[in-house]
Every structure is written in structure tokens, then in C-alpha cells.
Amino acid sequence: MMELRLKPKVSGLSIPLEAEVISPDVIAGKTLREVEELRVYHGNRAERLGEYFEVEGEVAAEPGEQLIVVEGDVSWVKYIGAGMTAGKVVVKGDAGMHLGSKMSGGEIIVEGSVGDWAGAEMTGGLIRIGGDAGDLLGAAYRGSPEGMRGGCIFVEGSAGYETGTGMRRGLIVIGGDAAPFTGAHMNGGVIFILGRAAKRLGAQMKGNGSLIICLGEVEELLPTFVYDTTYTPTFMRIYLKTLSEKLGIKRAEEYIGRPFRRYRGDRAVGGDGEILVVERG
């Protein structure tokens, strides 16, 4: 892959910068000069990318060959990698809202934390977040019935409210704690929570294979989820192996063969989604 480096010239802007141009799809095929000239939006002003970033490195011909490395904290930059279809973006620090929203392919790695709406409505690709995620990770934008429709998000830290709202497909793995309403309106897709799951998990989730798996503690389940049984489903082995082998979450393997409590719901919407909670002790 050809590596293009973006070094922030400023830090901690109070008005965030909107830079959906930080995407292999936009950058591939351009010259460094053209990359500097790309439009970014600071409040109501349209400005050059080059004003905010030093641009160096190499530009690939195809997005799939493009690696973009953002060298530093850019929690003030929104829409990094939004809509990208291929290639790779690495942020060596925090990133702002809407990171990788609506992306359909490629990979984004954020070493730090991300703002709200990361991976919102994404359909494919992989987002790895080293720190914490904000609210509405992988969620549907307001009004839309469809959230994440494919791809994978792995947050090593915790994730905020309404993670995976309206999720249809794909996988979200939360290494740390999950805030309330994780998996609300899920209608397909899988969410793993390795840390503590807050209440109202899976609120209004329907069927279609929606599944939330809690490997850590669960604060409280809604009264509209029905406990069925405690068992050791075979399929769990596949997921846990996938987490270990494809995402490098080795501790997932510890749960292979462990019994899970199976809950179905949300009865409030006549749903038949599942919450599986690992049996403690």
C-alpha cells in the first residue's frame, strides 16, 4: 500500500472540521498538491485541507492501494473515512464524529477514541477503535429504520448510548462497557459486549437473527425479555473463534464451552431477538 501522511497543523479546534475528503476514495489518483487543495469545511467556511494538515507521502492510483495515516489527535475532525469503499485509514490519536459513517469497504484504525456516530449506517469494512467510542456507534441516523448493514466495528474500550441502533447485519464488538440502549431496534446483526452491559439492552429488538452476547456483567434486562434456558450453543464457538482469530481478541477463547443464559425478546414489539449472557462463576 502507498502511504500518505497527514500531520495536523493545529490542535483542539473548538469548531470541528468536516473532512470527508480524508478517504482513500477521494485521495487515490490525486497529486499531493491536489490533495492539499481538497475542500474541508470549518464552520460555515470552505477551506483547503492543506491549511490544516501537512500532506506528505505517496498517493496510490487505486483506493484499494491507499493508506492514509493521520499523525496525531484529530478529535476535532469529523467524517474521516466516511463513505469509503476501499483502502485503509489509520488515525494515530482520537477522531471526531461520523468516522467511517456509511463506509462500505476498507479498514479504519483509530488508535485513540472516536466521537459519536462512528460507523453509522455502514455497510461493509472494518473499523478498529483503540479507545472508547461515543454514542450511536454503528447506529441508524435519525428517522432511518436501518443502521449498520454489514461490516465490523471493534472498540477496545467502551461504547456509548444506542450502540448499534437499528442494526441489520454485521458485527460490533465492545471490549469494554456498553451504555444503555445498546442494540435498540436491532433487526439482525450481532453485538458482543465483553465488559459490563448497562440496562435496556436490546430495547425493541426484533428477530431476523438479532443477537447480543454479553461476556461480562449485565446490569439489568428489560422485563420484556424472557429467560428460556442455560445452554452451551455450538455456534458460540464459531463467534468466539472469529473474535480471537480475526480480531485478535484472544480472551474470547476463554469463553468457549461456557454455558450461556438465553433470553428472547423484545416482547414489547413481539420481537424474537436474543440476548445470551455468559453464566458467571
Partner: protein
């Protein structure tokens, strides 16, 4: 008929006449090898020949924990039938009756999509056993290779089956015939041949223990019977049968039948089998069954299998 000699045993320079068949590899895993094998054996039972069975099936090999998708011991089974279409029904029935029912098992595809010629909706059809309580499981949508499974509630727990299973255009009816001086040497040679054949991936031997002692020929004198034992090769009637092909000194003959997912595997397996067989003292001659090239698409010459090697 020209003869070659392998390890001093006569090998006829003829061909095994094989057919186009569609094969599907099914991976069965279970809590332990015992149950994987049990399911596999049930599933491959009564599946020797399409002459009177709905398919031809056999166990390919056992799989260790690190070879299976769920990390449990497993057994690979391959099922063959004449066409893609006629393959589906036996798979559905056999998995439905022999694997779904068998404690702790799960079923996975054994031929990845990129190697397969077609993907068959087997899990998709079996899901109805869940009576509406089955759950679709999607793995890797949009970031890994997409795989889908069905989770079907059963009394013991949950049966997991992959939604689609890969099928390939394979080869059925690969064979060779071992002729020996007596029963003991012939059987031993055949057993060794089957053992060797099973070292080749993608090949199964659908007959009992891999062996077909009756052989078969097309048709019979009875109008209601499509096939009969291979009378020309029956030593018991070698002098009374008008066109007997049993050589002098041969008193027992066994046919080794094998199907494979592609011609090359069949070829290799035949070679391995023949080589193992000729090691046994008392083996007189090796030949193969064909119908003059009238029936099968494939003519697998023993000479080619053995690399033309004659010693």
C-alpha cells in the same frame, strides 16, 4: 490385452469407466469424535450405489479440532449423486434424519464457495425443522467471507447447520479390480488399497469398507433388474460362464470403487490403491471395469494413473 507389471503383478492396460457425478462435502462436528463418527456413519449408510440407493456417500476422513470451524472433532463426509438436483434431496434427508437427530452435532460446508461449482440450499431447507423458532446466523457480512448458518432448537440443545453447502462436479465410479489367488490375499490387498485411497483428499469409497465383492454389470436376464453381479468376473463360474474373464489361478476377486470430487483425485487415489494392493503376496492381476466407453464420460487408464510406470 496388453499388460503392465507393477511390483511383479500384472496390470491390464485398460481403463476404469467413470461418470460425472455431483459431490458435496459435509463436515460434521460433535462434542467428541465418537458422535461425529456416529452421525457420519448413519448419514453414509445405505449409500453404496445409485443403482438402488438415492446417492453414494462415504466418510472422507476424520478432522482434528483445529481443522473444523467450531474447534471440535469432526468427520468429513462426501455425498455423490448424478446431478446437482438429485443431490439435494438425499442431503436434506440424510442430514435431517441422521445428523440433526444425533446428539451434539453441527454441520458445516466442506467446499468453499470459490471452489464449488454450485452452492446447495441444504441448511436453508432444513431450517424448517425449527418450526419457526430457527434463528439465522450471519457471520462476516461485509468484512469477512460471508457465511450463514441456521440454528435449530432441538431437545438436547441446538443444532447448527450452514445455510448452503458447496457442491462440485466430481467423478463417480472410479474403480479397479484385484484378482488374487485366494480370498485371504485378495481381501487383504483390497483393505490395504482402501486404506491408501483414503489418504487422498476428496475421495470416498461408498461400498462396504470401500469394497464391492459383487461387482456389477449393466442389465440382467431378468427384465425387472437393471444390474446384476459381474458374472464374467465370478471365479465360481469361471469355466461354466461362456465369457468369463477370470484368469487362471485366480480364485477371488474384489472391486474397489471410489468417487472423487475431481478426476485428478480419483486418478491419484486409484494409483495409491493399486500400489498398495500389489504389495500383497498372492495378488495376481489388477484390472478395471468399463463398458467399452459407452456409458461414462471418464476413461481412467490404469497406465496413466500409474504414470505409465511399468516394472
Amino acid at each position: 490385452m496388453e499388460m503392465m507389471r507393477v511390483n511383479g503383478v500384472e496390470v491390464e492396460d485398460t481403463f476404469a469407466e467413470a461418470f460425472r457425478m455431483w459431490g458435496c462435502r459435509v463436515i460434521i462436528t460433535a462434542k467428541n469424535q465418537k458422535w461425529a463418527d456416529t452421525a457420519a456413519m448413519e448419514m453414509t449408510g445405505f449409500a453404496t450405489s445409485v443403482i438402488m440407493c438415492d446417492c453414494e456417500a462415504g466418510i472422507e476422513r476424520r478432522l482434528s479440532e483445529d481443522e473444523t470451524p467450531d474447534g471440535r472433532p469432526g468427520t468429513a463426509v462426501i455425498v455423490f449423486a448424478h446431478s446437482k438436483k438429485t443431490l439435494i434431496e438425499p442431503l436434506v434427508r440424510r442430514i435431517g434424519q441422521c445428523v440433526l437427530t444425533c446428539p451434539t452435532t453441527a454441520v458445516y460446508n466442506g467446499i468453499p464457495e470459490e471452489e464449488a461449482d454450485a452452492m446447495l440450499d441444504i441448511g436453508k431447507r432444513l431450517r424448517f425443522f425449527g418450526d419457526g423458532y430457527q434463528v439465522k446466523m450471519r457471520l462476516g457480512d461485509g468484512w469477512l467471507r460471508r457465511r450463514r448458518f441456521w440454528r435449530i432448537p432441538v431437545m438436547e440443545g441446538e443444532f447448527l447447520i450452514e445455510e448452503i453447502l458447496g457442491a462440485k462436479k466430481g467423478v463417480g465410479g472410479g474403480n479397479f479390480i484385484i484378482m488374487g489367488v485366494d480370498e485371504d490375499s485378495t481381501l487383504e490387498a483390497a483393505e490395504r488399497a482402501v486404506e491408501a485411497i483414503h489418504r487422498v483428499p476428496g475421495v470416498i469409497t461408498p461400498f462396504p469398507g470401500g469394497l464391492c465383492r459383487s461387482g456389477s454389470k449393466v442389465g440382467s436376464r431378468y427384465p425387472f433388474l437393471r444390474a446384476s453381479t459381474n458374472t464374467p468376473f465370478c471365479p465360481a463360474i469361471k469355466h461354466t460362464y461362456p465369457e468369463s474373464q477370470v484368469p487362471e489361478g485366480v480364485n477371488s476377486i474384489i472391486e474397489v470403487v471410489l468417487n472423487g470430487l475431481d478426476e485428478a483425485s480419483v486418478r491419484r487415489a486409484m494409483a495409491e490403491g493399486i500400489r498398495a494392493a500389489v504389495e500383497v503376496e498372492g495378488v495376481k492381476r489388477i484390472t478395471a471395469v468399463n463398458f467399452g466407453g459407452k456409458l461414462g464420460k471418464y476413461q481412467i487408464y490404469l497406465r496413466d494413473c500409474l504414470g505409465g510406470e511399468v516394472s
